[in-house]
Symmetry: C2
Subunit: 693 residues, 2 copies
């Protein structure tokens, strides 16, 4: 069986190579809502969306700031997302006694709905192109460091103005790596309550082995409700519900927040990913995974405490491994290089694009600069040396006190006025922090710091203060009072003097490493980030000038529209159907002798007799998605909700830098299966009745 | 509970620091059989072993060349070792249908005893000091490369002569890092048959979480029988059996093969371990662990195929993590440095030791040289880029053909005449090779090569031949005929021409990388290995000259005698008893709700009523052990077998560079519990009757 899979990877490549030649990437694209490919949609699918259709879809889409997507599915504030997106909240409201993450949850009445300690949902309401204003603030004779500062200042200014004018969350988003700047305005929801979640055994049926595979049988859903003034919010734009879902071959749309792609990256940037960033990140994920596994062996309660984090780490490890596998195929890089050389030739031949001729070399030079400060930046500024929630809190408090002394435009970006509310939502979260888990994580990451820099490095000495990583982690975590939200608030409002005097060991550590962390960040911003922004702006200009068709920017965890058709595919010579059925879940359990993770919850067995077993369960379509799209609504031409994205198949993992619709598929839970399970399995007929109304 | 453990690690350190001051390391030492600390034994334990006692213990000890220890326990050829040492063979003789590793095994009659496909056991029969002859071959005016070649040549010559004279396996062993050279002569047993193994659920009761912990409840044993001329070998030197075992506080001896310690390492060498070698090795173990976990998820058969390898990887990962944790404690390095400076002062002040004054700086320079070629050597020469049994076979065949063209004295050491039989025992093993597991391992290691060297490195291009690591692994494994032993024999006897012509892709790969692998090995031998040998020879001279007491060399996987007393210890303020009982295993199961890995086999539950529950089961003693000692016999003054070593507690993991008997303990299975379980649980009364007779 495994051999077949390996053979299939060859098959994939053969098909992919043929695609390179024909470039028939039909349903490619994570499109901006203010720049949809109307012609393409018309030409290829005979569909012409109205402005109303577009705005409705946009406003019915929801961003989970914890890292995922969702949608409004009722006028009464119901928001549907994936179980694995809601897991963060499920975990935070669980206790030793009530394990909602594992056992599921159903609020019998509104009063039982459980408030999330820190969730923020965003609804996009407007997009404005502010490219010119941003670029005008940056003069061509500025040094990269000055240019970066000027750009940051104007972005903060735009955001602050917008917030004052509209009261809406306002973010300037960098698109095309620096080619465009758009202002996104969001309505925020911060009172978010859990309504329903199934058991994790069916939400993640098949577990890690089935993850990124198809056929699948997962009820990967979770329902929240947003509140305003302590009452369910009234929602104007929500998706109607299609009780059956989409037909085979039908055109469907996906509206969500793809997190990050690298499709416009130059070859030098891809090589940096391949040779430096991904290997480093994977090594970190592996050690994190093993720490959590070891920690969880201690007791069932430890297993519970580690579970959400472990899932997320394993999921990332599997996804990034797939991405690295793609980049390590010399044929992919060769193809990218051929395209790059073609574009460079066009730029060289076109006087109007003259200013872009150096862009690729500038990006290559930036990668070289990045290599030099990569480890230090990851360890200090990105905090990989301090894998600890308490440390993150300490760092935020220390920096906030310092940054707040500066004018808004000069602050580190995360401390700008317009982002303050969201920052405090996280900082003052009442989610539990488990000190034993903190110690296990922090000890490992301190050890990693010593490994990366060497045991005698002055910074390691500063951090460890003469102790072993393990002893130092115990000291830092046991000695810190930052698990207490009141203490955080006291420090947050005390200003620099209070922070400077604090003897909390975690605060002291954050203070001690901050000068060096800031220094490496500053270098990164000037030598890499700003250089790349300017160079990618030139490349974007070249792409727009030379390519006949519209281009979409790489993913940025902002709202995009993708489309495709419901469509099975051929794997190992076998035609896979466009969907599985609810009955198939029982067969799949049997095939695996009901051994975990292929054990269905007892609720499913009890309800079996009542279920319409031929109800389509998980469906595959060709829409272009990536991590961050989890929880995205899938809807039809009529704007009716037909399902919710929860995964891509293994063949879609190289979508980070290349799209193919031959084998790569997005996988979603069918709307009909959601109704069927709510009604027949979970006794949630009333809740089901709210959907789409 | 976890916090307590962490606190305890502080306690350990406090005690250890006090030890540094008092230097009361009473039962420290892995002593050479030809240089036992007779005075120390007399003084401390009032024991004076006779020459007969010593020779008997030596000859009753057995080395498992697969990596462990054991002992003769009957005149009829029975050899006792750990289940986890025998696991390699248990795995190799298991199939999808018969999982001896998991389910255990008992031969009802000699005809049912199962032959190992490749096991070689060694019985040490004589030691001879050949230091002078080795050193005389190396002139002081030689370059390091010439010195290395001359040393290798004289070692091969000594071994070859000894083999011709005695017919015995003859190995020149480097001791004290180069301070002494001893010739070890072994009687070899290569017809080794499995007689008995318990279920892995009791052999490794408590699994990974309990590994390196105490209290323990493991029947970690396995019985083989050696044959000569197809008949059970008649053994003169075997241990008598103590039916009860040792008393609390009783003096016991451990005779076994500790694999490797670094106690004589200079600080520069320890820092190299801490900053380079251990982090690298741990990263490799983590990726290997995750590959095996992922592979095993595929099916129960895949789980079975990966199990033995996975255990070994996890065991190493846990052990090396503990070692790194110790080295990353700045206080340990500071202590080592203080000792080193004291010795260097003595050397500086003593004209007779003048030649040793540069030794520490030379070793430091060698570490620097080692850093430069470390990755390349690990990847190519140590083969970490090619994690594949088929590749190892291919490399051996390619090199053997080339080396055999040279005189014995000039060959790479593993191809010397005197080692040929053992080499062929491995090379022609009939143990199964699973191609799907080979592909999973090889793909990951090829990916690792590309990560370490970068995707565009010429060597990566040579190895991958334009394919992705995954595709290349499939091609290499699927295309190779080396799983077939007959094909290996054909190639092994064909000579260089046949090897050069072979189109087997694995052979071609081994050929392609061999020049570079040999080049880096040559540099390593001249710039690091030889430099270290000469410098450690000087340091050894200084230690002997300046220390009043005898010194023992670092472990070298050769036979050593350790001693200590049966002794409980205090952990987290709680006195732990010197032994657990058979009844305690049932309690331990209950405490963990009989959840795996705390589920006792059904055989134990069935026998419960018959068992003497107060029989001592696992016992702790202060003897100085390390990895490789697994399976070592524990015996009393009378030379009676009282148990078999199977683990050390977590506090013993820093024994690699420092010994303490305050908290570090060796853990062994009591002789009485072995009898009780064979008779009452496994219906192996006859077998039990053979023990000690």
């Amino acid at each position: 069986m495994r051999e077949e899979k390996h053979l299939h990877s060859l098959t994939l490549l053969a098909i992919w190579l043929s695609l390179v030649v024909t470039s028939a990437r039909a349903d490619e694209g994570m499109w901006l809502y203010n720049d949809l490919p109307r012609e393409l949609l018309k030409e290829r699918h005979g569909f012409e969306p109205t402005d109303q259709w577009i705005e409705h879809a946009m406003r019915a889409s929801v961003r989970f700031n914890s890292g995922g997507s969702g949608s409004f599915v009722s006028s009464t504030g119901l928001v549907l997302t994936n179980h694995h997106v809601g897991a963060d909240t499920l975990f935070k409201i669980s206790t030793r006694e009530h394990n909602y993450l594992e056992d599921g949850f159903l609020a019998k009445s509104p009063s039982e709905e459980q408030k999330s300690p820190d969730l923020e949902l965003n609804q996009l309401v407007a997009i404005e192109d502010v490219t010119d204003r941003v670029n005008q603030a940056v003069r061509s004779d500025m040094s990269p460091a000055d240019a970066f500062a000027a750009r940051r200042a104007v972005m903060a200014e735009i955001e602050s103005e917008s917030l004052k004018q509209t009261g809406l969350r306002s973010d300037v988003v960098t698109l095309y790596g620096g080619g465009r700047y758009h202002l996104y305005r969001y309505k925020k929801y911060t009172d978010v309550r859990l309504v329903y979640a199934p058991e994790s055994d069916i939400a993640f049926f098949g577990g890690d082995p089935d993850n990124f595979e198809y056929p699948r049988y997962c009820l990967d859903i979770c329902l929240f409700r947003v509140y305003e003034n302590d009452k369910p919010a009234k929602i104007e734009h929500f998706f109607e519900w299609s009780p059956k879902g989409a037909a085979d071959g039908e055109l469907v749309f996906v509206s969500g927040h793809p997190g990050r792609t690298s499709r416009l990256f130059t070859v030098a940037a891809l090589e940096f990913l391949r040779d430096v960033a991904l290997p480093f990140r994977l090594a970190e994920l592996r050690r994190h995974e093993i720490v959590l596994q070891q920690y969880g062996l201690d007791s069932p309660e430890a297993t519970r405490r580690a579970k959400d984090e472990l899932f997320s780490v394993q999921n990332s490890r599997k996804a990034l491994s797939g991405m690295l596998r793609g980049l390590q195929d010399p044929r992919l890089v060769a193809d990218k290089l051929a395209r790059e050389e073609a574009l460079r030739s066009q730029v060289a031949a076109d006087a109007k694009l003259k200013s872009g001729r150096e862009a690729w070399d500038q990006i290559a030079a930036a990668q070289q600069a990045h290599r030099e400060l990569f480890i230090e930046r990851q360890m200090l500024e990105r905090g990989l040396a301090f894998r600890s929630q308490l440390f993150e809190i300490a760092r935020t408090l220390v920096r906030m006190a310092e940054e707040d002394q500066k004018p808004n435009a000069e602050r580190l970006r995360e401390f700008r006025d317009s982002a303050r509310e969201s920052l405090e939502q996280q900082l003052f979260s009442t989610a539990p922090i488990y000190s034993d888990l903190e110690i296990a994580n922090l000890a490992d990451s301190l050890s990693n710091l010593a490994e990366e820099l060497s045991g005698n490095h002055p910074l390691v000495e500063t951090v460890l203060t003469g102790k072993s990583p393990q002893d130092r982690a115990v000291e830092l975590v046991s000695g810190s009072g930052l698990a207490d939200v009141a203490e955080r608030k006291r420090l947050a409002t005390g200003g620099p003097a209070v922070l400077a005097k604090s003897t909390d060991p975690m605060i002291a550590l954050a203070r001690a490493v901050d000068p060096q962390a800031r220094a490496v960040r500053k270098r990164f911003e000037a030598e890499i980030e700003e250089v790349e922004r300017q160079a990618y702006a030139e490349i974007t200009k070249a792409i727009f000038a030379t390519s006949g068709t519209a281009a979409y920017p790489d993913a940025t965890f902002t709202l995009r529209l993708a489309f495709g058709t419901v469509s099975g595919f051929v794997e190992d010579g076998k035609q896979l159907p466009p969907w599985t059925t609810i009955g198939g879940a029982f067969d799949h359990e049997k095939t695996h002798n009901a051994q975990p993770p292929w054990k269905l919850p007892s609720s499913w067995h009890k309800a079996r007799g009542r279920l319409k077993l031929d109800t389509p369960f998980n469906v595959v379509c060709t829409a272009d998605i990536i991590g961050g799209n989890s929880g995205s609504p899938v809807f039809n031409r009529q704007g009716q909700f037909v399902g919710i994205i929860f995964d891509g198949n293994i063949q879609s993992l190289s979508a980070d830098y290349i799209y193919t619709d031959e084998l790569a598929r997005a996988i979603y839970v069918n709307s009909g299966a959601i109704l069927e399970s709510l009604r027949e399995i979970y006794g949630a007929g009333e809740l089901a009745g709210e959907l789409g109304r």
